[in-house]
């Protein structure tokens, strides 16, 4: 650094600690709320230290479900979330890698057109075509199915752009060498391109897993049966029940469970996460 001032370091620590506190506080409160019984939480006098109902609340949230409504337990929602998040992430990687391979390594009529057709989807987020897309999915009989949760979300330009950019940086000598060795397009893809792309694939997977897990509007629209709900929309339905009293302690336990997988991905795969974030935005 330019100069060393102890005071400046102290200020930095103070501000950052405050920042971490602000960032963590809402989650801390949710965690605390998930360890008390309903009366303590609803009474508005919840202490700031943990209570003793933690196991009970999480057990009920995961395996039993709420008492007042005939709601599904969270276990099924977690399974649904995992299936759709994995489906969306893997599906995106699969179709965008293939299309990027076609656009970069082949010459054919309408190559530019195909690229632009894919590129323009950047401008059509699901929110601007909600009901027509809903209707298409309904006509295809995909309401309340995993296909309906996954397929409409796997096409987007980001993956194709990312792989295209990455393939461009791979030296041409590799392709020349493979061709001299007699490798066709499949061999080259499988033996050369795929191993080189592992980090890019992993980075994209991390970002898309979080994206898929956190989907809200789409699953809200196309799931009508409780058994197909993802956990993110399940929480909201817990709070806005027709009964007056929502079971906040269970909703908060569910919120913690809903946060765990994507947050764990960010914390434990930070390097890949940062890389994926920076690259998908370029």
């Amino acid at each position: 650094m330019v100069e060393h001032r102890p005071l400046s370091d102290i200020i930095a620590y103070a501000i950052l600690t405050l920042g971490v506190f602000i960032v963590a506080f809402p989650v801390y409160l949710a965690l605390i709320a998930s360890t008390y019984d309903a009366a303590t939480v609803v009474g508005g006098r919840m202490p700031l230290s943990p209570g003793d109902q933690m196991l009970e609340n999480y057990y009920r949230a995961i395996f039993v479900g709420g008492a007042r409504t005939s709601r599904e337990p969270v276990a099924q929602m977690l399974i649904n979330s995992f299936i759709s998040a994995f489906g969306i992430a893997l599906g995106k990687i699969f179709i965008s890698m293939l299309s990027a391979y076609a656009v970069v390594y082949f010459r054919f009529p309408f190559r530019k057109t195909a690229f632009w057709i894919i590129f323009v989807t950047l401008m059509l987020p699901v929110e601007v075509r909600i009901y027509p897309t809903y209707k298409v999915v309904a006509d295809l009989k995909m309401l309340d199915t995993y296909a309906g949760l996954i397929l409409p979300l796997i096409a987007s330009a980001t993956g194709t752009l990312l792989f295209r950019q990455f393939f461009m940086t791979i030296p041409e000598e590799l392709l020349e060498a493979s061709r001299i060795d007699g490798a066709g397009p499949f061999r080259f893809f499988w033996d050369t391109l795929l191993p080189l792309s592992v980090t890019t694939i992993a980075a994209l997977f991390v970002i898309q897993f979080i994206y898929g897990w956190n989907q809200y509007l789409w699953p809200l629209l196309i799931t009508t049966q409780d058994s197909m709900q993802t956990i993110v929309i399940g929480i909201k339905k817990m709070l806005y029940t027709t009964d007056e009293l929502a079971e906040w302690q269970l909703a908060m336990a569910t919120a913690i469970l809903a946060m765990l997988p994507p947050v764990a991905v960010v914390v434990f795969m930070q390097r890949l996460f940062v890389r994926g974030l920076v690259e998908t935005e370029k």
């Binding site: 001032r5 506080f25 709320a33 059509l124 929110e127 601007v128 956190n214 709070l239 806005y240």
Partner: protein, 293 residues
């Protein structure tokens, strides 16, 4: 830049493109064109027949005071969220950029809210500030402040802004930190030798050199507020009270579902598409080139 060595298969590239193109046409182009088409139609009350009404849906849309209200809400909401989350994130990033021993740990502790779903973030914040049971609503009541985001539009807006900012700080922090770390230290050293203090160095050197990052983040934040905050609004306020937090995207959703006005909802979708196309064009025209120093 194009590859000069390629494969010469004729059919294979089309086969490789087929999965993505099918998905794109079925779930993007077809629904988007349907939205445009529906915006010129009016359905009867039972949805059985529809007639072509030209620009009528647009005329009635732009005659609605609620539509202008939702535009205003969107503008207020986006400017507050962008301004707050950018400045708070910049403050944290400049501190984390100092050579601290614990910088890595702070970075990890700062970025994880990115992974929290917007709807979950909304639930966390309504729990904290719920008028009857919220832990942070209690001190407000002690101060005789009549806090009620469920009834007061300004309070509701404040709450969704806080939740949206909370979630967005991590993203902005990460990009600001990367931007700060790419500023050459020699420039800062030269200025220090000339006698400029830390604050002066920040405003005359760091901040201008950071402007590409800031501009990029500004666009990204506006897009974030437009679309990704849907979950926050739906979880915290449901667009209420009395439309005080109904953004343009939320109105498309609410009019089509609750009101059943598909033509009007489709017309709103088309207006939104135009806005997104403009934002994307800005992003690619100006941001792409300037981001690299």
């Amino acid at each position: 830049m194009e590859k000069s060595v390629v494969f010469n298969n004729k059919l294979l590239p089309y086969l490789l493109l087929v999965p993505q193109l099918i998905i794109t046409f079925v779930f993007f182009y077809w629904p988007a064109s349907q939205a445009v088409w529906q915006s010129f139609l009016r359905e009867d009350a039972f949805g059985l027949t529809s007639e072509f009404v030209g620009l009528e849906n647009y005329q009635s849309l732009f005659a609605q005071p609620e539509y202008y209200a939702s535009m205003l809400v969107t503008v207020v909401f986006s400017s507050l969220v962008a301004a707050l989350s950018l400045s708070i994130a910049l403050l944290f990033a400049t501190q984390a950029d100092k050579n601290l021993k614990a910088a890595g740990a702070y970075k990890t502790l700062m970025i994880w809210p990115y992974a929290v779903a917007p709807a979950v973030a909304g639930v966390l914040w309504i729990f904290m500030f719920h008028p009857s049971l919220g832990t942070l609503a209690r001190p407000l009541r002690w101060m005789n402040f009549d806090w009620n985001p469920l009834l007061n539009g300004n309070h509701a807006m404040a709450l969704v802004v806080m939740a949206a900012v909370w979630k967005q700080i991590s993203y902005n922090f990460l990009f600001f930190l990367a931007g700060l770390q790419s500023i050459p230290k020699s420039v800062l050293e030269a200025s220090a030798i000339d006698g400029a203090g830390p604050l002066r160095r920040f405003w005359t050197i760091t901040f201008p050199l950071l402007s590409p990052t800031t501009f990029f983040l500004l666009v990204v934040n506006v897009v974030y507020v437009f679309f990704d905050t849907f979950g926050i609004i739906d979880a915290v306020t449901g667009g209420g009270p009395a439309g005080a937090t109904t953004t343009m995207v939320y109105k498309v959703f609410a009019d089509g579902r609750l009101g059943g006005d598909l033509g009007g909802s489709a017309a709103q979708s088309v207006v939104l598409m135009v806005i997104v196309i403009a934002l994307t064009a800005i992003q690619f025209k100006y941001v792409e080139r300037k981001v690299q120093y």
